[in-house]
């Protein structure tokens, strides 16, 4: 007669030292439905596994209960054993008599044994109601989408393309490159940023597996892991990029030339209506800014650029285009924006041209930047005699951003090196810091080298920055010297907090992924699943997940690509078997489950007026099943009857 087999593990003395395993075995063998019970020293060992396998056959068992450690430890091990023995893996139940019993009750063998009996009985009761469960399969599209063309997005796209995957790389700006393209040098090696970035950018352009969609934005995302349907809006560039060779004649001819703030140079100089963000832009092509072009505004009245373009590349009839993509996985790498330092009124940003951000300084130092690398006072062009950095502007601030920006300290130290290269040696450099955080590889050494460069490190946050007639003056209380200092500077460099880039909130909604309380995209587990989101098939990389330096962004980007590849390399995906399912005959369409599903696996079917679950999206968390007021949702493997039977078994007093 077939029945349930109970296998009790000693776990050496971990369990057997506290629980009387012989008594437990005898008790288990008398339980309802149990036809065989035994115990063994280590059930997870090879002989232990063989014992289970052999018993299934010899004793004609149809279900197996192993009383051992936590299912987190060995559920999969024993499921595989049971499957090997020819049973459905979901005919296996695990009673945790180690973490939940022997370890916590080591002082009372009698009571621990009693509790173990209850735990085993509960699993046996659940087992009696267990049924075969099957995983469902879906086809996987092997193409990938990477959103964001900064260094993280570039790295992810290249890694995936190198594995032979087709990658769509979507970037909002006309060129890829992101924030890293704006940097002059990188810490702590002082590598030229564009020297190490541009080869990667051209790799992207050249790679036949990568389809670059710049000046484009994700409009709509549907579907689920293995088969996402994505609509991307390609904004009109009004230039035929197949023809354009980026000769630049049009930009010179543009009548708005020099009239539009240049975003790439942080507004420190101007461009025209037709422009390319920077000389090494990829793709190398020009774009017309529709908001400022005279011709687009006044219906073709200005013909300057069209007259000079020998390739006839300018097309004022260009229109936005919706591109529909089908991909199996998505990597989000949308980066960061600097917090607007005007939010801290006391620091006077905007009141003087000599109060700038670190990114502006980056452009000023850059030899191809707006000042050709010459550093002067921005207000009057006079020589700079004193520079003061203010770190943690809005970072580590309870009122604004409570988190650390992770790149501010090191970035400022890098700037000290660059300023020392560019300016006279008698120029004063002051750094007002909270703590110098130099945690990365080679960072602390870099900090020590910077200390030798005659820099005044002032530990304190300035209370106020005042614009005087010539200089900018700031008051700061130095907590290491216990003294209020008054510092006069020609340039004050603010190092603002990092924020998730503009549009992150909307994108998170489109992708149905969550954000953490700081607004950055949320990883599925802060330590063990840092690239995963709660939505299966969507991964995150770089600063969209939280502030990061370049090495960390690149590592995460490669990691995300590897994770995406685990999906894209499969022909089919298996969904969990222990997922929720909705009974159409009971569901009354109250829509409550839809609100709680953290994986957006439930949708409302307007026609049948019932909720529906997409199997591959369901992670089996059970939120909907416990909520459903009509009991229409069943959590497979955790049915209400099972839980009720377990509760009954757990609460029944043993007779005698």
């Amino acid at each position: 007669m077939s029945g349930i087999g109970v296998f009790i593990c000693h776990c050496g003395s971990n369990i057997a030292g506290t629980v009387d395993v012989d008594e437990l075995t005898e008790y288990a063998s008398d339980l309802n439905g149990v036809t065989f019970a035994t115990n063994y020293k280590y059930m997870c060992s090879d002989p232990g596994q063989e014992l289970i396998k052999d018993s299934v056959e010899e004793q004609d068992l149809d279900s197996v209960v192993v009383a051992a450690c936590s299912p987190r430890m060995h559920e999969e091990t024993f499921q595989a054993v049971v499957e090997d023995a020819g049973l459905n893996p979901y005919r296996f139940q695990m009673a945790n008599i180690r973490e939940q019993c022997s370890w916590v009750h080591s002082d009372d063998m009698e009571k621990a044994t009693e509790k173990a009996k209850h735990l085993v009985e509960m699993s046996v009761e659940k087992s009696r109601l267990s049924e075969d469960l099957e995983k469902t399969e879906v086809d996987v599209n092997s193409d990938a989408l990477v959103i964001g063309g900064g260094i993280a997005g570039i790295q992810s796209a290249l890694d995936l393309a190198d594995q032979g995957k087709k990658v769509y790389l979507v970037e909002r700006e006309p060129s890829i490159g992101g924030k890293m393209a704006q940097l002059d040098k990188t810490f702590p090696t002082l590598d030229c940023s564009s020297c190490i970035l541009t080869p990667k950018m051209t790799d992207v352009a050249r790679n036949p597996n990568i389809e670059l969609l710049t000046y484009s934005e994700v409009e709509e995302v549907d579907g689920s892991v293995g088969d996402f349907e994505v609509k991307v809006k390609k904004k009109a560039t009004y230039v035929d990029w197949d023809k354009c060779t980026a000769c630049g004649d049009c930009a010179e001819a543009c009548r708005r030339s020099g009239n539009v703030e240049d975003e790439f140079n942080e507004g420190l100089d101007n461009r025209g209506a037709i422009y390319t963000p920077f000389p090494q832009a990829v793709p190398a092509a020009y774009t017309i800014d529709s908001e400022v072009c005279i011709s687009l505004e006044y219906d073709g009245t200005c013909t300057s650029c069209r007259e000079v373009c020998e390739l006839d590349a300018i097309d004022l009839d260009d229109e936005d285009e919706i591109v529909e993509l089908n991909v199996g996985s998505i990597i989000v790498a949308t980066g960061y924006d600097l917090m607007d330092p005007e939010k801290i009124y006391e620091y006077g940003y905007g009141k003087s041209k000599d109060i700038i951000t670190n990114l502006e300084l980056e452009r000023i130092i850059d030899a191809s930047g707006p000042t050709d690398g010459e550093i002067h006072r921005l207000s009057d062009g006079e020589d700079v005699e004193s520079v003061t950095f203010i770190l943690c502007v809005g970072s580590r601030d309870e009122e604004l951003q409570s988190y650390c920006c992770r790149i501010g300290c090191m970035g400022a130290l890098k700037h000290v090196h660059l300023l020392r290269d560019h300016l006279d040696e008698d120029v004063d450099i002051n750094i007002c810091y909270t703590d110098i955080r130099s945690f990365g590889k080679g960072y602390e050494e870099f900090y020590r080298r910077t200390r030798d460069l005659d820099v005044n490190f002032v530990r304190g946050r300035p209370s106020e920055v005042n614009v005087q007639e010539e200089k900018v003056e700031l008051n700061v209380f130095d907590t290491t010297m216990d003294k209020l200092l008054q510092v006069e500077s020609d340039l004050v460099v603010l190092v603002p907090a990092l924020l998730p880039s503009e549009g992150t909130e909307e994108l998170s909604r489109q992708l149905r992924i969550t954000r953490s309380s700081d607004g950055f995209l949320q990883e599925a587990h802060p330590k063990l699943r840092p690239m995963d989101t709660f939505t299966n098939g969507i991964f995150i990389a770089g600063c969209c997940q939280g502030p990061k330096d370049i090495p960390d962004s690149v590592s995460q980007a490669s990691g995300a690509a590897a994770k995406a590849s685990t999906i894209l390399s499969k022909d089919k995906l298996q969904s969990e078997a222990t997922i929720a399912s909705i009974d159409d005959d009971i569901c009354s369409g109250c829509k409550m489950c839809i609100s709680v599903c953290p994986y957006d696996a439930i949708e409302y079917n307007e026609e049948d007026e019932v909720a529906e679950i997409t199997d591959v999206l369901c992670m089996g968390c059970g939120s909907c099943a416990s909520l459903c007021p009509t009991g229409a949702i069943e959590h497979k493997g955790f049915k209400d009857e099972m839980l009720e039977a377990m509760i009954d078994a757990g609460l029944t007093e043993e007779e005698g």
């Binding site: 005959d585 409550m592 459903c628 009509t630």
Partner: protein, 325 residues
């Protein structure tokens, strides 16, 4: 055609609404009278205990029992009727789930009597006693039971037809099926699988309820939009929907009189669990303790709201502090 079925209607502790609901089937009563002989109906006739006792075992084919089992006399009577009846229908919410009377289970028997007989708003008088000595001898009164339990905890029940009271439409569907031996009716077949939301005509959205508003304080109620979506506690999602949602259709929230849908044991905990899952879900992770409490406190009288008709059939059943070990 076989012999006429013998049927009866009995009431225990009740408001009388269930009896009225029987009359509410209007002309259909005539059809019933054609198919069945009403042999016992204290509301309309005047039978004595002795008459019932004199009946044979299983003499009555179908007995509809409504009302709460509040007194020992109720209990004795339904036990007696059980002996005389082939099939018992638990009729109305009180019999099925304990009904509004069931909320008395939140207090002990002594507290209820004290409230009823020594309250400032009523005349002070002696508590009712089982036996009272008077000059002429002993007087006997029915005695209150400690708790109200659903009918099926006192006697076996074949069918359930809840509602406060059941609507004529429900009875019109049920009666022919019950009277016809050819039609097989399972124990809970007269209760729907679907909740009130299914027939409810209101427009529903995904639930994002910030806090509940008592309906008497709510202004600007959209007559076409789901009341729960508008923050008004409606028991519709957790309540069996064979009534076809007449209350919500006219803008009144469902109070849950039908009890849970078929297959669900505890209506109130289902509703509380569902509501707790969706309330204040927006920005949940950033909420302070106070904000969470504010959301929770907006659920006024949770037991009275979630269990208005079903406390005795719930997992809680009654207040436990007066039970000895």
């Amino acid at each position: 055609m076989s012999e006429k079925k013998k049927i009866g209607f009995y009431w225990t502790g009740s408001c009388g609404g269930c009896q009225v609901s029987i009359l509410d089937i209007d002309e259909m009563l005539l059809d019933v009278a054609e198919q069945a002989e009403i042999v016992f109906w204290p509301c309309a006739m005047d039978p004595k205990y002795e008459d019932v006792k004199a009946m044979d075992e299983n003499e009555i084919d179908i007995m509809f029992i409504n009302g709460a089992i509040r007194l020992d006399e109720n209990k004795e009577m339904v036990e007696l009727l059980r002996e005389k009846t082939k099939e018992v229908v638990s009729y109305g919410s009180c019999a099925c789930n304990g009904g509004v009377f069931g909320l008395g289970n939140l207090s002990s028997k002594d507290e209820l009597l004290e409230k009823g007989y020594t309250n400032k708003t009523t005349d002070q008088g002696p508590f009712p006693q089982k036996i009272t000595e008077v000059e002429e001898g002993e007087l006997e009164l029915a005695e209150m039971l400690d708790h109200i339990k659903p009918l099926d905890e006192h006697i076996d029940v074949e069918y359930y037809l809840p509602g406060c009271p059941p609507l004529p439409t429900q009875l019109e569907d049920a009666l022919p099926a019950l009277l016809d031996d050819e039609i097989e009716v399972e124990e809970r077949d007269l209760i729907t699988d679907k909740s009130v939301c299914d027939p409810c005509p209101m427009e529903r959205e995904e639930k994002e309820i910030e806090r509940l508003i008592p309906i008497q304080e709510a202004t600007d109620i959209d007559p076409d939009e789901c009341l729960l979506d508008q923050g008004i506690l409606c028991m519709g999602p957790a309540t069996a929907g064979m009534c076809e949602a007449p209350c919500t259709e006219v803008g009144h929230p469902c109070v849950g009189c039908n009890g849970p849908v078929k297959g669900v044991e505890d209506q109130g905990s289902r509703m509380a669990s569902a509501l707790a899952s969706v309330m204040g879900i927006e920005g949940e992770e950033n909420k302070t303790e106070e904000e969470v409490m504010e959301t929770m406190n907006s659920v006024r009288d949770p037991t009275g709201s979630f269990y208005m008709f079903s406390l005795p059939s719930s997992i809680m059943q009654f207040r436990r502090d007066d039970i000895d070990e």
